[in-house]
Symmetry: C2
Subunit: 245 residues, 2 copies
Protein backbone atom coordinates (compact mmCIF):
# COMPACT_ATOMS: atom_id res chain seq x y z
CA UNK A 1 0.00 0.00 0.00
CA UNK A 2 1.38 3.33 -1.05
CA UNK A 3 2.06 6.23 1.22
CA UNK A 4 1.96 4.21 4.34
CA UNK A 5 3.09 6.67 6.95
CA UNK A 6 2.93 5.27 10.44
CA UNK A 7 1.34 7.16 13.12
CA UNK A 8 2.42 8.19 16.59
CA UNK A 9 -0.43 10.19 17.96
CA UNK A 10 1.81 13.10 18.95
CA UNK A 11 3.33 13.64 15.53
CA UNK A 12 0.02 13.15 13.80
CA UNK A 13 -1.19 15.96 11.66
CA UNK A 14 -4.33 17.93 12.30
CA UNK A 15 -7.58 17.22 10.54
CA UNK A 16 -8.01 19.09 7.31
CA UNK A 17 -10.78 21.66 6.96
CA UNK A 18 -12.63 21.47 3.71
CA UNK A 19 -14.84 23.59 1.59
CA UNK A 20 -16.89 21.32 -0.59
CA UNK A 21 -17.78 22.21 -4.13
CA UNK A 22 -20.16 20.56 -6.52
CA UNK A 23 -19.41 20.59 -10.22
CA UNK A 24 -21.92 19.55 -12.83
CA UNK A 25 -21.14 17.84 -16.08
CA UNK A 26 -24.21 18.67 -18.15
CA UNK A 27 -24.37 17.03 -21.54
CA UNK A 28 -26.72 17.56 -24.39
CA UNK A 29 -26.82 16.51 -28.00
CA UNK A 30 -27.22 18.93 -30.85
CA UNK A 31 -29.22 16.70 -33.13
CA UNK A 32 -29.03 19.14 -36.01
CA UNK A 33 -25.29 19.04 -36.19
CA UNK A 34 -24.72 15.68 -34.54
CA UNK A 35 -22.48 16.95 -31.84
CA UNK A 36 -22.24 16.15 -28.15
CA UNK A 37 -22.43 19.40 -26.22
CA UNK A 38 -21.37 20.28 -22.71
CA UNK A 39 -22.46 23.24 -20.64
CA UNK A 40 -19.70 25.59 -19.49
CA UNK A 41 -19.65 28.86 -17.64
CA UNK A 42 -17.01 31.56 -17.51
CA UNK A 43 -15.62 32.17 -14.07
CA UNK A 44 -16.29 35.67 -12.83
CA UNK A 45 -13.85 35.62 -9.94
CA UNK A 46 -10.46 34.41 -8.95
CA UNK A 47 -8.95 31.94 -9.13
CA UNK A 48 -9.10 31.19 -12.82
CA UNK A 49 -11.02 34.39 -13.46
CA UNK A 50 -12.15 34.47 -17.07
CA UNK A 51 -11.55 30.78 -17.66
CA UNK A 52 -14.27 28.43 -18.72
CA UNK A 53 -15.33 25.86 -16.17
CA UNK A 54 -18.05 23.38 -15.32
CA UNK A 55 -21.01 25.04 -13.61
CA UNK A 56 -20.43 24.56 -9.91
CA UNK A 57 -20.69 26.15 -6.54
CA UNK A 58 -19.59 25.72 -2.96
CA UNK A 59 -21.95 24.03 -0.57
CA UNK A 60 -23.58 26.31 1.97
CA UNK A 61 -24.65 25.69 5.51
CA UNK A 62 -27.69 23.46 5.81
CA UNK A 63 -27.58 22.54 2.16
CA UNK A 64 -27.12 19.02 0.85
CA UNK A 65 -24.68 18.28 -1.94
CA UNK A 66 -27.51 17.68 -4.36
CA UNK A 67 -29.28 20.84 -3.30
CA UNK A 68 -26.19 22.81 -4.14
CA UNK A 69 -25.87 21.11 -7.51
CA UNK A 70 -29.47 21.87 -8.41
CA UNK A 71 -29.19 25.41 -7.09
CA UNK A 72 -26.30 26.40 -9.31
CA UNK A 73 -27.97 24.86 -12.31
CA UNK A 74 -31.21 26.66 -11.64
CA UNK A 75 -29.24 29.89 -11.86
CA UNK A 76 -27.85 28.98 -15.26
CA UNK A 77 -30.32 26.98 -17.20
CA UNK A 78 -34.01 26.17 -17.30
CA UNK A 79 -34.84 22.63 -18.36
CA UNK A 80 -37.43 20.07 -17.55
CA UNK A 81 -36.68 16.58 -16.27
CA UNK A 82 -33.31 17.41 -14.84
CA UNK A 83 -31.99 14.36 -13.05
CA UNK A 84 -28.54 14.61 -11.54
CA UNK A 85 -26.44 11.60 -10.81
CA UNK A 86 -23.33 11.63 -8.70
CA UNK A 87 -20.14 10.97 -10.64
CA UNK A 88 -17.05 11.05 -8.55
CA UNK A 89 -15.34 12.95 -5.77
CA UNK A 90 -12.05 14.61 -6.52
CA UNK A 91 -10.24 15.52 -3.37
CA UNK A 92 -6.48 15.42 -3.48
CA UNK A 93 -4.61 18.28 -1.90
CA UNK A 94 -3.44 21.09 -4.16
CA UNK A 95 -6.13 20.64 -6.77
CA UNK A 96 -7.29 24.17 -6.09
CA UNK A 97 -4.84 27.09 -6.07
CA UNK A 98 -6.66 28.66 -3.16
CA UNK A 99 -5.17 26.00 -0.94
CA UNK A 100 -1.71 27.39 -1.51
CA UNK A 101 -2.43 30.86 -0.22
CA UNK A 102 -1.93 29.81 3.34
CA UNK A 103 -0.88 26.45 4.55
CA UNK A 104 -3.55 26.38 7.21
CA UNK A 105 -6.32 27.33 4.82
CA UNK A 106 -9.11 25.11 3.66
CA UNK A 107 -8.79 22.22 1.32
CA UNK A 108 -11.15 22.23 -1.65
CA UNK A 109 -12.96 19.08 -2.59
CA UNK A 110 -15.23 18.61 -5.56
CA UNK A 111 -18.18 16.28 -5.81
CA UNK A 112 -19.21 16.03 -9.44
CA UNK A 113 -22.66 15.39 -10.83
CA UNK A 114 -23.81 14.32 -14.23
CA UNK A 115 -26.92 14.95 -16.32
CA UNK A 116 -28.16 14.76 -19.88
CA UNK A 117 -30.68 17.38 -20.97
CA UNK A 118 -32.69 18.28 -24.04
CA UNK A 119 -30.74 20.68 -26.19
CA UNK A 120 -33.57 22.62 -27.79
CA UNK A 121 -35.51 22.96 -24.53
CA UNK A 122 -32.59 24.20 -22.51
CA UNK A 123 -32.85 27.89 -21.94
CA UNK A 124 -29.62 29.45 -20.81
CA UNK A 125 -30.00 32.21 -18.28
CA UNK A 126 -27.87 35.20 -19.12
CA UNK A 127 -27.26 37.04 -15.92
CA UNK A 128 -25.34 39.79 -17.67
CA UNK A 129 -22.22 39.05 -15.71
CA UNK A 130 -20.80 35.65 -16.35
CA UNK A 131 -20.75 33.90 -19.67
CA UNK A 132 -22.54 30.64 -20.20
CA UNK A 133 -22.52 28.51 -23.31
CA UNK A 134 -22.76 25.06 -24.83
CA UNK A 135 -19.49 23.77 -26.26
CA UNK A 136 -19.19 20.85 -28.61
CA UNK A 137 -17.09 18.13 -27.05
CA UNK A 138 -14.76 18.28 -30.00
CA UNK A 139 -13.95 21.95 -29.46
CA UNK A 140 -13.44 22.46 -25.78
CA UNK A 141 -11.57 25.44 -24.43
CA UNK A 142 -9.05 25.08 -21.64
CA UNK A 143 -10.86 24.55 -18.40
CA UNK A 144 -10.23 25.78 -14.89
CA UNK A 145 -8.94 23.52 -12.13
CA UNK A 146 -9.09 19.81 -12.94
CA UNK A 147 -12.34 20.19 -14.81
CA UNK A 148 -10.97 18.51 -17.89
CA UNK A 149 -10.48 15.35 -15.91
CA UNK A 150 -13.97 15.58 -14.43
CA UNK A 151 -15.44 16.14 -17.86
CA UNK A 152 -13.61 13.18 -19.28
CA UNK A 153 -14.91 11.01 -16.49
CA UNK A 154 -18.41 12.27 -17.19
CA UNK A 155 -18.15 11.42 -20.85
CA UNK A 156 -17.28 7.84 -20.01
CA UNK A 157 -20.37 7.70 -17.85
CA UNK A 158 -22.48 9.17 -20.61
CA UNK A 159 -21.45 6.46 -23.01
CA UNK A 160 -22.08 3.73 -20.49
CA UNK A 161 -25.43 5.06 -19.46
CA UNK A 162 -26.55 5.42 -23.04
CA UNK A 163 -25.94 1.75 -23.67
CA UNK A 164 -27.62 0.55 -20.49
CA UNK A 165 -30.35 3.01 -19.60
CA UNK A 166 -33.04 4.82 -21.51
CA UNK A 167 -31.45 8.22 -21.05
CA UNK A 168 -31.61 8.81 -24.79
CA UNK A 169 -35.26 9.69 -24.34
CA UNK A 170 -34.29 12.50 -22.00
CA UNK A 171 -32.67 14.30 -24.90
CA UNK A 172 -34.95 13.37 -27.74
CA UNK A 173 -38.16 15.33 -28.19
CA UNK A 174 -41.40 13.81 -26.95
CA UNK A 175 -42.03 12.35 -30.40
CA UNK A 176 -39.15 11.07 -32.45
CA UNK A 177 -38.40 8.78 -35.33
CA UNK A 178 -36.25 5.69 -35.08
CA UNK A 179 -33.84 7.47 -37.36
CA UNK A 180 -33.49 10.23 -34.78
CA UNK A 181 -32.79 7.67 -32.11
CA UNK A 182 -30.22 5.89 -34.22
CA UNK A 183 -28.58 9.18 -35.11
CA UNK A 184 -28.30 10.06 -31.43
CA UNK A 185 -26.57 6.80 -30.60
CA UNK A 186 -24.23 7.25 -33.51
CA UNK A 187 -23.35 10.75 -32.40
CA UNK A 188 -22.46 9.76 -28.88
CA UNK A 189 -21.01 6.30 -29.36
CA UNK A 190 -19.46 6.75 -32.77
CA UNK A 191 -20.14 4.73 -35.89
CA UNK A 192 -20.12 1.02 -36.11
CA UNK A 193 -21.98 -0.07 -33.03
CA UNK A 194 -24.83 -1.63 -34.96
CA UNK A 195 -26.54 -1.78 -38.30
CA UNK A 196 -29.56 0.50 -38.53
CA UNK A 197 -32.02 -2.20 -39.37
CA UNK A 198 -30.84 -4.43 -36.55
CA UNK A 199 -30.85 -1.51 -34.14
CA UNK A 200 -34.38 -0.85 -35.24
CA UNK A 201 -35.75 -4.32 -34.78
CA UNK A 202 -34.01 -4.82 -31.48
CA UNK A 203 -35.42 -1.64 -29.99
CA UNK A 204 -38.92 -2.37 -31.25
CA UNK A 205 -38.82 -5.87 -29.88
CA UNK A 206 -38.15 -4.49 -26.42
CA UNK A 207 -41.66 -3.13 -26.52
CA UNK A 208 -41.37 0.26 -24.86
CA UNK A 209 -41.51 2.35 -28.00
CA UNK A 210 -45.08 3.24 -28.81
CA UNK A 211 -45.94 4.00 -32.41
CA UNK A 212 -48.10 7.11 -32.44
CA UNK A 213 -49.35 6.42 -35.94
CA UNK A 214 -48.22 9.87 -36.99
CA UNK A 215 -45.93 10.09 -40.00
CA UNK A 216 -43.31 12.74 -40.48
CA UNK A 217 -41.81 13.74 -43.81
CA UNK A 218 -38.38 15.25 -43.99
CA UNK A 219 -37.57 16.14 -47.57
CA UNK A 220 -37.15 13.22 -49.88
CA UNK A 221 -37.76 9.69 -48.82
CA UNK A 222 -40.54 7.79 -47.22
CA UNK A 223 -42.07 9.48 -44.18
CA UNK A 224 -40.98 8.07 -40.84
CA UNK A 225 -43.26 6.90 -38.08
CA UNK A 226 -43.16 8.96 -34.89
CA UNK A 227 -42.62 7.02 -31.68
CA UNK A 228 -43.02 7.89 -28.06
CA UNK A 229 -41.10 6.39 -25.14
CA UNK A 230 -43.54 4.43 -22.99
CA UNK A 231 -42.20 4.68 -19.46
CA UNK A 232 -44.79 2.26 -18.10
CA UNK A 233 -43.84 -0.40 -20.59
CA UNK A 234 -40.21 0.14 -19.72
CA UNK A 235 -40.70 -0.04 -15.95
CA UNK A 236 -40.53 -3.85 -15.68
CA UNK A 237 -37.27 -3.82 -17.63
CA UNK A 238 -35.70 -1.41 -15.19
CA UNK A 239 -32.50 -2.68 -13.58
CA UNK A 240 -32.46 -5.69 -15.85
CA UNK A 241 -29.15 -6.31 -17.57
CA UNK A 242 -30.42 -4.54 -20.66
CA UNK A 243 -28.29 -3.29 -23.51
CA UNK A 244 -29.60 -1.05 -26.25
CA UNK A 245 -26.42 -0.91 -28.22
Amino acid sequence: MPGRRTKKPDTQRALADFKVGVDNVIFSVDTDQNRVMVLLVMRDKAPHLGDWSLPGTLVREGESLEDAAYRVLAEKIRVSNLYLEQLFTFGGPHRDPREAVNSYGSRYLSVSYFALVRFVDAELIADGVSGIAWFPLSQLPDLAFDHHEILHYGYQRLRNKLAYSPIAFDVLPELFTLGDLYQLYTTVLGEGFADYSNFRSRLLKLGFLADTGIKQSRGAGRPAALYRFDADAFAPLKDKPLVFI
Copy 2:
Protein backbone atom coordinates in the same frame (compact mmCIF):
# COMPACT_ATOMS: atom_id res chain seq x y z
CA MET B 1 -16.47 25.85 -10.32
CA PRO B 2 -16.60 26.62 -6.68
CA GLY B 3 -17.49 30.15 -5.79
CA ARG B 4 -20.22 30.69 -8.29
CA ARG B 5 -22.28 32.79 -6.05
CA THR B 6 -24.48 35.29 -7.82
CA LYS B 7 -26.57 38.16 -6.56
CA LYS B 8 -27.68 39.12 -3.10
CA PRO B 9 -24.59 38.45 -1.10
CA ASP B 10 -26.41 39.68 2.02
CA THR B 11 -29.24 37.14 2.20
CA GLN B 12 -27.16 34.21 1.15
CA ARG B 13 -26.05 31.69 3.71
CA ALA B 14 -22.45 31.16 4.60
CA LEU B 15 -20.36 28.41 3.10
CA ALA B 16 -20.38 25.23 5.09
CA ASP B 17 -17.16 24.03 6.69
CA PHE B 18 -16.57 20.34 6.33
CA LYS B 19 -14.59 17.61 7.91
CA VAL B 20 -14.19 14.85 5.40
CA GLY B 21 -14.23 11.22 6.41
CA VAL B 22 -13.44 8.14 4.41
CA ASP B 23 -15.26 4.90 5.12
CA ASN B 24 -14.18 1.60 3.69
CA VAL B 25 -16.46 -1.23 2.71
CA ILE B 26 -14.10 -4.19 2.79
CA PHE B 27 -15.55 -7.46 1.62
CA SER B 28 -14.19 -10.92 1.75
CA VAL B 29 -15.57 -14.38 1.17
CA ASP B 30 -15.29 -17.16 3.67
CA THR B 31 -14.96 -20.01 1.24
CA ASP B 32 -15.21 -22.65 3.94
CA GLN B 33 -18.65 -21.58 5.03
CA ASN B 34 -19.75 -19.87 1.83
CA ARG B 35 -20.48 -16.54 3.40
CA VAL B 36 -19.81 -13.01 2.26
CA MET B 37 -17.96 -11.19 5.02
CA VAL B 38 -17.52 -7.54 5.75
CA LEU B 39 -14.90 -5.90 7.95
CA LEU B 40 -16.23 -3.87 10.87
CA VAL B 41 -14.59 -2.07 13.74
CA MET B 42 -16.00 -1.03 17.08
CA ARG B 43 -15.94 2.69 17.64
CA ASP B 44 -13.74 3.68 20.54
CA LYS B 45 -14.96 7.23 20.85
CA ALA B 46 -18.12 9.28 20.70
CA PRO B 47 -20.37 9.58 18.90
CA HIS B 48 -21.69 6.04 18.62
CA LEU B 49 -19.08 4.83 21.11
CA GLY B 50 -19.19 1.05 21.27
CA ASP B 51 -21.16 0.67 18.07
CA TRP B 52 -19.86 -1.27 15.13
CA SER B 53 -18.98 0.75 12.06
CA LEU B 54 -17.12 0.60 8.79
CA PRO B 55 -13.41 1.24 9.24
CA GLY B 56 -12.95 4.90 8.53
CA THR B 57 -11.12 8.02 9.54
CA LEU B 58 -11.12 11.73 9.01
CA VAL B 59 -8.81 13.18 6.38
CA ARG B 60 -5.81 15.06 7.71
CA GLU B 61 -3.94 18.03 6.36
CA GLY B 62 -1.90 17.25 3.27
CA GLU B 63 -3.44 13.84 2.88
CA SER B 64 -5.45 12.74 -0.14
CA LEU B 65 -8.72 10.92 0.27
CA GLU B 66 -7.15 7.69 -0.86
CA ASP B 67 -4.20 8.11 1.44
CA ALA B 68 -6.57 8.40 4.34
CA ALA B 69 -8.49 5.32 3.26
CA TYR B 70 -5.30 3.26 3.00
CA ARG B 71 -3.99 4.65 6.27
CA VAL B 72 -6.94 3.54 8.36
CA LEU B 73 -6.89 0.12 6.77
CA ALA B 74 -3.20 -0.30 7.43
CA GLU B 75 -4.01 0.21 11.10
CA LYS B 76 -6.61 -2.53 11.06
CA ILE B 77 -5.63 -5.22 8.65
CA ARG B 78 -2.66 -6.60 6.76
CA VAL B 79 -3.40 -7.89 3.29
CA SER B 80 -1.68 -8.02 -0.03
CA ASN B 81 -3.09 -6.63 -3.24
CA LEU B 82 -5.37 -4.12 -1.64
CA TYR B 83 -7.00 -2.03 -4.31
CA LEU B 84 -9.52 0.55 -3.19
CA GLU B 85 -12.17 1.89 -5.49
CA GLN B 86 -14.27 4.93 -4.73
CA LEU B 87 -17.91 4.16 -4.13
CA PHE B 88 -19.99 7.18 -3.36
CA THR B 89 -20.00 10.38 -1.36
CA PHE B 90 -22.61 10.81 1.31
CA GLY B 91 -22.90 14.38 2.34
CA GLY B 92 -26.30 15.58 3.44
CA PRO B 93 -26.48 17.71 6.54
CA HIS B 94 -27.33 16.00 9.84
CA ARG B 95 -25.95 12.62 8.90
CA ASP B 96 -23.50 12.94 11.76
CA PRO B 97 -24.68 13.81 15.25
CA ARG B 98 -21.58 15.91 15.81
CA GLU B 99 -23.11 18.50 13.53
CA ALA B 100 -25.87 19.13 16.02
CA VAL B 101 -23.63 20.11 18.90
CA ASN B 102 -23.34 23.61 17.67
CA SER B 103 -25.05 25.08 14.69
CA TYR B 104 -21.88 26.71 13.43
CA GLY B 105 -19.83 23.54 13.70
CA SER B 106 -18.47 21.51 10.86
CA ARG B 107 -20.49 19.38 8.53
CA TYR B 108 -19.34 15.79 8.18
CA LEU B 109 -19.07 14.25 4.76
CA SER B 110 -18.15 10.67 3.96
CA VAL B 111 -16.38 9.43 0.88
CA SER B 112 -16.69 5.68 0.77
CA TYR B 113 -14.27 3.19 -0.72
CA PHE B 114 -14.66 -0.42 -1.67
CA ALA B 115 -12.36 -3.42 -1.78
CA LEU B 116 -12.42 -7.19 -1.91
CA VAL B 117 -9.65 -9.03 -0.08
CA ARG B 118 -8.52 -12.56 0.53
CA PHE B 119 -10.14 -13.94 3.66
CA VAL B 120 -7.46 -16.34 4.79
CA ASP B 121 -4.61 -13.91 4.13
CA ALA B 122 -6.17 -11.03 5.96
CA GLU B 123 -4.53 -10.55 9.28
CA LEU B 124 -6.55 -8.40 11.61
CA ILE B 125 -4.50 -6.10 13.79
CA ALA B 126 -5.65 -6.17 17.36
CA ASP B 127 -4.53 -2.93 18.91
CA GLY B 128 -5.94 -3.90 22.27
CA VAL B 129 -8.33 -1.01 22.31
CA SER B 130 -10.92 -1.17 19.63
CA GLY B 131 -12.58 -4.32 18.39
CA ILE B 132 -12.25 -5.44 14.83
CA ALA B 133 -13.95 -8.38 13.19
CA TRP B 134 -15.37 -9.93 10.08
CA PHE B 135 -19.14 -10.20 10.06
CA PRO B 136 -21.14 -12.34 7.67
CA LEU B 137 -23.44 -10.18 5.60
CA SER B 138 -26.37 -12.21 6.83
CA GLN B 139 -25.69 -11.39 10.47
CA LEU B 140 -24.81 -7.74 10.64
CA PRO B 141 -25.05 -5.80 13.86
CA ASP B 142 -26.53 -2.32 13.97
CA LEU B 143 -24.08 0.13 12.50
CA ALA B 144 -23.12 3.65 13.42
CA PHE B 145 -24.14 6.67 11.35
CA ASP B 146 -25.52 5.81 7.90
CA HIS B 147 -23.09 2.97 7.49
CA HIS B 148 -25.83 0.49 6.72
CA GLU B 149 -26.70 2.49 3.63
CA ILE B 150 -23.06 2.71 2.58
CA LEU B 151 -22.63 -1.02 3.09
CA HIS B 152 -25.71 -1.78 1.03
CA TYR B 153 -24.40 0.40 -1.76
CA GLY B 154 -21.09 -1.42 -1.58
CA TYR B 155 -22.75 -4.79 -1.83
CA GLN B 156 -24.46 -3.76 -5.04
CA ARG B 157 -21.09 -2.77 -6.39
CA LEU B 158 -19.56 -6.05 -5.33
CA ARG B 159 -22.14 -8.02 -7.26
CA ASN B 160 -21.71 -5.88 -10.34
CA LYS B 161 -17.95 -6.03 -10.26
CA LEU B 162 -17.95 -9.74 -9.83
CA ALA B 163 -19.90 -10.19 -13.03
CA TYR B 164 -17.81 -7.76 -15.08
CA SER B 165 -14.28 -7.81 -13.70
CA PRO B 166 -11.88 -10.46 -12.59
CA ILE B 167 -12.02 -9.47 -8.93
CA ALA B 168 -12.84 -13.03 -7.97
CA PHE B 169 -9.15 -13.80 -8.32
CA ASP B 170 -8.37 -11.24 -5.65
CA VAL B 171 -10.13 -13.43 -3.11
CA LEU B 172 -9.26 -16.87 -4.32
CA PRO B 173 -5.89 -18.31 -3.40
CA GLU B 174 -3.13 -18.23 -5.98
CA LEU B 175 -4.10 -21.71 -7.14
CA PHE B 176 -7.72 -22.72 -7.20
CA THR B 177 -10.02 -25.23 -8.78
CA LEU B 178 -12.88 -24.33 -11.06
CA GLY B 179 -15.17 -25.67 -8.38
CA ASP B 180 -13.77 -23.08 -5.98
CA LEU B 181 -14.42 -20.35 -8.50
CA TYR B 182 -17.94 -21.53 -9.14
CA GLN B 183 -18.61 -21.77 -5.42
CA LEU B 184 -17.43 -18.19 -4.96
CA TYR B 185 -19.78 -16.88 -7.61
CA THR B 186 -22.64 -18.85 -6.13
CA THR B 187 -21.92 -17.48 -2.68
CA VAL B 188 -21.96 -13.86 -3.76
CA LEU B 189 -24.54 -13.89 -6.54
CA GLY B 190 -26.83 -16.60 -5.23
CA GLU B 191 -27.85 -19.79 -6.97
CA GLY B 192 -29.14 -20.08 -10.45
CA PHE B 193 -26.89 -17.77 -12.44
CA ALA B 194 -25.45 -20.57 -14.53
CA ASP B 195 -25.00 -24.28 -14.80
CA TYR B 196 -21.62 -25.46 -13.52
CA SER B 197 -20.54 -27.12 -16.73
CA ASN B 198 -21.45 -24.09 -18.82
CA PHE B 199 -19.77 -21.77 -16.35
CA ARG B 200 -16.73 -23.95 -16.66
CA SER B 201 -16.49 -24.01 -20.42
CA ARG B 202 -17.20 -20.32 -20.77
CA LEU B 203 -14.46 -19.36 -18.37
CA LEU B 204 -11.96 -21.71 -19.97
CA LYS B 205 -12.76 -20.43 -23.43
CA LEU B 206 -11.87 -16.92 -22.34
CA GLY B 207 -8.34 -18.16 -22.11
CA PHE B 208 -6.97 -16.43 -19.03
CA LEU B 209 -7.12 -19.42 -16.71
CA ALA B 210 -3.90 -21.35 -16.87
CA ASP B 211 -3.97 -25.01 -15.95
CA THR B 212 -1.02 -25.69 -13.68
CA GLY B 213 -1.19 -29.43 -14.27
CA ILE B 214 -1.39 -29.99 -10.54
CA LYS B 215 -4.26 -32.06 -9.24
CA GLN B 216 -5.88 -31.61 -5.90
CA SER B 217 -7.87 -34.27 -4.07
CA ARG B 218 -10.53 -33.30 -1.58
CA GLY B 219 -11.96 -36.42 -0.07
CA ALA B 220 -13.98 -38.55 -2.39
CA GLY B 221 -14.30 -37.82 -6.06
CA ARG B 222 -11.96 -37.23 -8.89
CA PRO B 223 -9.14 -34.80 -8.12
CA ALA B 224 -9.61 -31.30 -9.52
CA ALA B 225 -7.12 -29.44 -11.67
CA LEU B 226 -5.58 -26.36 -10.10
CA TYR B 227 -5.71 -23.19 -12.18
CA ARG B 228 -3.96 -19.87 -11.95
CA PHE B 229 -5.28 -16.51 -13.13
CA ASP B 230 -3.09 -15.32 -15.99
CA ALA B 231 -3.12 -11.53 -15.79
CA ASP B 232 -1.19 -11.14 -19.04
CA ALA B 233 -3.67 -13.22 -20.96
CA PHE B 234 -6.47 -11.20 -19.44
CA ALA B 235 -4.95 -7.79 -20.24
CA PRO B 236 -6.29 -7.57 -23.81
CA LEU B 237 -9.77 -8.31 -22.53
CA LYS B 238 -9.63 -5.47 -20.08
CA ASP B 239 -12.41 -2.90 -20.47
CA LYS B 240 -14.15 -5.07 -23.01
CA PRO B 241 -17.83 -5.59 -22.36
CA LEU B 242 -17.06 -8.90 -20.72
CA VAL B 243 -19.39 -10.89 -18.53
CA PHE B 244 -18.30 -13.88 -16.50
CA ILE B 245 -21.70 -14.70 -15.12
